[in-house]
């Protein structure tokens, strides 16, 4: 029997760690039918059960995208079991979601995580008593130390073999009464298992969203419900049913906690987290420290270690792979053009990309450490003041920082923002953050022209990207998002020592994405580019690339790029291939100029470009249209083709204008 188990919990409660423990290495990122979102799915160890890792959420309110996704998943896909993980050291707030989950009438177990931390600080959670009080199995676990995971698995099997019995939360009398009344109005003659009626009843009482999504009510039913709600609100001093029901939930949780939870004494004492925060968010030290951390990441990514690793990869390609492959092909008596396509086109093209693998892996490693340690939230806390001026919030900082790695996951990270306009604006500005794939372009040109200031030249690209994003942000705020009132409500989780295993896993997942891209998109692009470059428009094989199809296309575009200083067909074609993937810009160039390796390409480039046109080319690459993968993600995340096209056009126009300014003004300065 195949079952679907949904793993649900607040952000920062150890959900991913538990997911990894339950599934082992047996997992994949899958698209769930009907929902256009990537979710991690894995098989529970030694079974055929699917575990679906849903985004971390605080409640089942329908406001942020992640909450809506989770809510829709639970309602439409009806998983067989909910594994709800809660942070034991933050019992009350985590249980708020659990209480909402019970209304869905889906069997549930609650894994109380970080129980070791609770006991360590002198607290205690009596899980057995909680199980008796609520009828939901509570299991104390420590995902970090792999404690009691076997009991969770055992309980999963137990509960799946038992008939489901609905759980009724013991709210205060008035709330319970109102909920029961609405429940009996909406259920009528229906089977209680048809729909999650208890959930719909609480949504109706709460009034936070229209009921039409869940249920069709007759006018008579609607009036009856109106009366019940009116009666309920009269009993409240504030006339506010939304607060009332939340209050009832929290009161219920407080009563549970009073019976079964001994709070740790750390409530009033100074914790390690407090001590760290004392320095990290200190009035004088906070920003210097922030810049030091950012600088360290930058330095690690582009420093000696990654250069060393890049050299190894380059040597591997040039001295081992290319010679051995071509000798095999020569022995097999392959025709000259095949040898040429395989060595120059395929291996040369992808090899040029693999050289940047260490840098990208190190960058993702740093970002994972920031995320897991809890510093990312502090960075948001510190940057909110500035981002507020652009109509954004500190929460936009995380997607933007991730944008330096890769735009695609960064755009997805904007999901945590509740405010739709804020989210759209974050998505629109993230592509201005120079992504990792553009780095090869800067490295090549800076290496050719700004040798003694190479680091500075590359760094300036990042600064220009940020400045342009700030200017565009101000423009958007004054035009597109005039009505927008940004908000900032964010949890500051305690600092945690990042787990090496989970960091490495996270880094590997992201890096693997890059490798797969290099192995598929860029590989096929390299072949395509090679063909376009070695065949004439009349489909005749030609050694002379200026007679090729590419030359024809490139020559048509080149005049447009002349005011920017790089009006050659090779530059035009390289930039075109960059729309598929930015990594392809350099690999296309090396194919077009028939350069065997980076050193050869650097020599060729330095005879064709001038320092000013090289810098202009770097700026253009930084700012122009995002790659196909990023655009597809933007389209999916905004759900709007118009926005996506607008982003593409705005970026390209910005790139054109900025590069032209750089080239024209740069030349004036040079000629002074």
């Amino acid at each position: 029997m195949s079952c679907n188990l949904a793993l649900i919990g607040n952000p920062n409660c150890g959900k991913t760690t538990l997911f990894n423990l339950l599934t082992g290495s047996n997992q994949y990122v899958g698209n769930w039918a009907g929902v256009t979102v990537e979710k991690k799915v894995g098989k529970l160890k030694n079974t055929d059960y699917n575990i679906i890792d849903l985004p971390g959420i605080y409640s089942l309110s329908p406001y942020s995208t992640e909450e809506r996704l989770t809510q829709n998943f639970l309602l439409n896909e009806k998983p067989d079991l909910i594994i709800n993980i809660i942070d034991g050291s933050n019992f009350e707030r985590n249980m708020y979601l659990s209480v909402q989950l019970t209304e869905l009438n889906i069997p549930m177990i609650i894994a109380v995580n970080m129980i070791d931390a609770v006991t360590f600080s002198g607290g205690n959670i009596d899980c057995q008593y909680l199980t008796e009080l609520t009828g939901i199995p509570f299991i104390p676990i420590s995902a970090r130390n792999n404690d009691n995971i076997d009991i969770v698995i055992e309980e999963i099997h137990n509960i799946l073999n038992r008939p489901n019995k609905p759980i009724e939360i013991d709210y205060n009398h008035t709330t319970r009464n109102a909920l029961n009344k609405i429940y009996s109005v909406i259920i009528g003659e229906n089977n209680p298992n048809d729909k999650p009626y208890a959930f719909i009843a609480s949504k109706l009482l709460e009034g936070s969203e229209s009921s039409d999504k869940y249920i069709n009510l007759s006018d008579k039913q609607k009036i009856e419900i109106q009366n019940i709600i009116h009666e309920y609100e009269l009993l409240s001093p504030y006339n506010d049913r939304e607060s009332l029901i939340a209050d009832a939930r929290y009161r219920y949780i407080e009563s549970l906690a009073a019976k079964a939870v001994i709070k740790s004494k750390s409530n009033d004492t100074i914790t390690i987290s407090d001590r760290i925060d004392f320095i990290v968010t200190n009035r004088f030290l906070a920003y210097p420290l922030f810049f030091i951390i950012m600088f360290c990441i930058f330095n690690m990514t582009f420093g000696t270690l990654s250069k060393f690793l890049s050299n190894i990869i380059e040597t591997l390609f040039n001295n081992i792979i290319i010679p051995s492959v071509s000798s095999i092909l020569i022995k097999a008596e392959a025709p000259q053009w095949i040898i040429c396509m395989v060595t120059d086109g395929i291996i040369g093209g992808t090899g040029g990309i693999f050289v940047f693998l260490p840098q990208i892996a190190i960058l993702f490693l740093c970002l994972s450490i920031l995320e897991d340690s809890g510093y990312m939230a502090r960075a948001a806390f510190l940057t909110d003041r500035f981002l507020k001026k652009l109509g954004l919030s500190g929460k936009s900082f995380i997607p933007m920082l991730m944008g330096f790695g890769c735009t695609t996951p960064a755009v997805m990270a904007a999901r945590t923002q509740e405010n739709i306009n804020e989210r759209r604006m974050t998505i629109m500005l993230t592509p201005f953050m120079s992504c990792g794939a553009k780095l090869p372009i800067y490295a090549l040109f800076a290496g050719a022209f700004f040798k003694s200031y190479q680091g500075l030249a590359v760094f300036s690209m990042y600064i220009i990207g940020i400045l342009i994003a700030a200017i565009m942000g101000l423009i958007f705020k004054k035009t597109l998002f005039k009505e927008n009132a940004s908000t900032f409500v964010m949890e500051l989780p305690p600092y945690r020592r990042p787990l090496l295993k989970s960091i490495l896993k996270n880094t590997w997942e992201k890096t693997r994405g890059f490798i797969i891209k290099a192995g598929t998109v860029i590989l096929s692009m390299s072949v395509l580019i090679w063909i376009l470059q070695n065949f004439s428009p009349s489909l005749r094989f030609t050694e002379n690339s200026s007679e090729s199809i590419f030359a024809a296309i490139g020559s048509a575009i080149a005049p447009l790029l002349r005011p920017l200083g790089f009006g050659t067909w090779q530059a035009a074609v390289s930039l075109l291939s960059g729309i598929v993937a930015k990594e392809a810009v350099v690999s296309t160039m090396s194919v077009l100029y028939s350069a065997e390796n980076t050193a050869a390409l650097t020599d060729i480039i330095s005879t064709i470009f001038t320092p000013v046109s090289a810098y202009s080319f770097m700026v253009f690459s930084l700012l122009y249209i995002p790659c196909i993968s990023a655009l597809a993600t933007i389209k999916r995340e905004t759900g709007n083709l118009k926005w996506t096209l607008a982003i593409a056009v705005i970026q390209t126009v910005t790139a054109y204008v900025t590069s032209m300014l750089v080239y024209q003004i740069g030349n004036i300065i040079i000629n002074l």
Partner: protein, 80 residues
């Protein structure tokens, strides 16, 4: 003591939430995060540039803006 708003509470002082003057998403978010009438909030920290602020409630830390704190009506609690 009389009612005031959360932004007027000093660092390391506590206050009890009376009600909120919020609407829409922000209200929902703050309610979900546990800011309901009767809850005790402690002001823990103020960001280096004066905004946002860090508060502690229900055993965890939350960061909100001053403009949001302004809409939370509270009653100060004497600290012993």
């Amino acid at each position: 003591m009389s009612e005031t708003t959360l932004n007027n509470i000093k660092r390391n002082h506590c206050a009890i939430v009376i009600r909120t003057n919020l609407t829409g998403i922000l209200k929902r978010r703050l309610i979900d995060m546990g800011i309901t009438p009767g809850v005790v909030i402690k002001i823990k920290r103020i960001a280096p540039l004066g905004d946002p602020i860090e508060i502690r409630l229900r055993g965890y830390e939350l960061s909100i803006r001053r403009s949001e704190a302004k809409k939370i009506i509270v009653k100060p609690v004497e600290v012993k």
